[in-house]
Symmetry: C2
Subunit: 369 residues, 2 copies
């Protein structure tokens, strides 16, 4: 992390609930982290609350306060971000704080695992989406003009760089190897992905031959220029439109999927539909020096404050945070506790067809840690 | 059409099979058009074969010959386009002929109906996707530079204009009204969409506040500035990532969906997965003066030339072509014949789990006309 822990096992986590159900699921994730059994190797957590979000913007005129950034950099080794509300039309001066956070902390890869729970009777899949997290249309370079007929014409720049594409590609191939290693510990009958590890590159280079051409060539180059490391990883590719189609027809055909920012955003929401709820899908925004866990779902204003939100995406995001900070044992405990609750299928929030509250699901996970 | 028919009922259709299975499904669609029962009101078809595609490019150095464009403009009232192969990496001088065709003929709306067949036991949906067809990232303005470290950086322009957004929006609201009118003829028990007609606007204005902001405002304006015409049509909106999620969770929640070019491309492939096969989904590229029918699927080189291709997307595209040329009676005959074959479920190509050939499916449709 940016801030080096004073004592090696002390970990300071910034909690940024932001808007809506973020304020229910981030405390749930915190409770799970605090309930982890203490061992010599596991971290001792300190938490600090940090502000951000649309509501904060409405009150104070700023969506991501300087203080939040400064304290993340100065005091924290990682953070958990809840969810942010989007105003439905342009609000002068407002800009998404999570997009800004990714950029300011150089969190270049958004890691989004989407997997069915073995034995849950669901459609089987075990995908890891690596979404490039700093550029593409998210650079927010936009302009508007008026044409000769007095009509408006707007442009946005889409940026694809060799630098960012390579970092995202390396993350994809490294995670493919890592997943393969971890799978060795899973009984063969429970392994969803049986083959050689594989990275699928998503692009639209039949239309965007220069930008997506550069993306494609660079990610391919990660393997081609480092066969010693990656010869054990297969590589294929999908046009983004076909990817969405195939993901729904044969989700079991994918292992690691690597995509430019916007395609990754769309694909990960689509994949979430396959596992039954956006409320299950976590992510980690990963950089070389910092990690921010973040559920893939939004702020869900329609159910906020009613204890209806599914805390599992946030709880799993806390697991991803630990995993990418190097505490993979504690991360695995969290994943297994969540899988246990899901497999049992008794305690679930309304998005999964149940009647349990956010707190009840959180307690059930804690009991299994 | 650009070329006015000499005799009012004579219709000249340009056939552009292009690559791969395009060469099997376009003849199938032609056979269906030729098998339509002749009446006073129905058109007399003439067909002319026109070249285009990647294979044509490889032989002659041009993907969309001038002659094809000139004859479409000079002799045809409409066209059917098959599918085009995409080279997996950049080929100097090659550019997609279908994207060029849409632009040259000003085919500003890509109309993509995706519906389950009533009584087929499938997940029920009845969506019409209107995809803006001339701009967004499809303007192909791209450039590449080298940064201070000698690394490549590429940019693409994404264009959203008030002009194009309004035309797409008008098409969406007009089609919503049209569908509502046609539904009145369907027995209530067979109507998949029961409510007031609705247009859902897809965007990502939480990130692209200027370009997608302009898109959103302009499409909303179509209704807001013309309540006399459109007050009977509901309007809502979805962020593109949520749209893909919701489409898979509750496809029955959508009537007409209107999207910028690239989102529309992705959403329509996704919707195709819901009805069981890309081989079922047709489209029409519609302008004020010309229509090009085009199956949504690609050239499928893996099955080309083997009589395995599903001709239904192309046959339905011929129906859409007629519909948008004003021959809605003949179009309805085609749709009903196809639905009959699908509902019976006996004669189907391998993509639908059957063993029938392209020709057998085509013959079965013709028999029901
Ligand atoms: C809130 C929004 C800016 C964000 C994004 O598009 O990245 C969200 O959809 C996500 O996936 O984290
Ligand atoms: C072939 C390709 C350029 C095209 C597109 O992206 O528009 C295709 O996917 C489509 O949907 O018609």
């Amino acid at each position: 992390g940016f801030a080096t822990a004073a004592q090696s096992n002390k970990v300071t986590i910034g909690l940024i609930p932001a808007d809506g159900i973020g304020r229910e699921v981030i405390p749930a994730a915190r409770q799970v982290l605090e309930s982890l059994p203490k061992s010599e190797a596991s971290p001792r957590f300190e938490f600090i609350h940090l502000d951000a979000g649309f509501e904060h913007f409405q009150k104070h005129g700023v969506a991501l306060p300087d203080e939040t950034l400064a304290r993340l950099r100065g005091e924290c080794q990682g953070a958990l971000f809840g969810a942010v509300s989007s105003p439905s039309h342009k609000v002068a001066g407002y800009s998404s704080p999570i997009v800004a956070l990714r950029k300011h902390l150089d969190l270049y890869a958004n890691v989004r695992p989407v997997a069915s729970v073995a034995g849950s009777g669901q459609k089987q899949l075990d995908m890891l989406i690596i979404r490039e997290n700093t550029e593409c249309l998210y650079i927010k370079q936009e302009r508007i003009e008026t044409d000769a007929n007095g009509l408006k014409v707007a442009y946005a720049d889409r940026k694809i760089s060799e630098y960012a594409s390579r970092r995202a590609g390396q993350m994809a191939f490294n995670m493919a190897l890592m997943r393969d290693k971890l799978r060795a510990n899973v009984p063969a009958s429970e392994r969803l992905w049986q083959g050689k590890p594989k990275v699928t590159i998503v692009h639209k280079s039949n239309v965007l031959s220069i930008t997506d051409g550069l993306w494609r060539e660079t990610v391919r180059g990660v393997k081609e220029n480092n066969q010693a490391l990656y010869s054990g990883v297969d590589m294929d590719e999908q046009l983004v439109d076909s990817m969405v189609y195939r993901m729904f027809r044969e989700p079991e055909a994918f292992d690691v999927v690597v995509a430019p920012n916007l395609y990754g955003d769309i694909i990960s929401d689509g994949a979430a539909a396959l596992v039954g709820s956006l409320g299950l899908v976590p992510s980690a925004n990963v950089g070389d020096n910092f990690v921010v866990g973040e559920p893939v779902h939004g702020s869900a204003p329609d159910i906020a404050g009613q204890q209806k939100a599914n805390p599992i995406a946030a709880i799993r995001s806390a697991g991803l945070l630990l995993e990418h900070m190097g505490y993979s044992g504690d991360a695995a405990r969290i994943y297994q506790a969540v899988d246990g609750v899901l497999r049992e299928g008794l305690i679930k929030t309304p998005d999964l067809g149940g009647k349990s509250t956010t707190q009840e699901v959180t307690d059930a996970v804690c009991k299994r840690l």
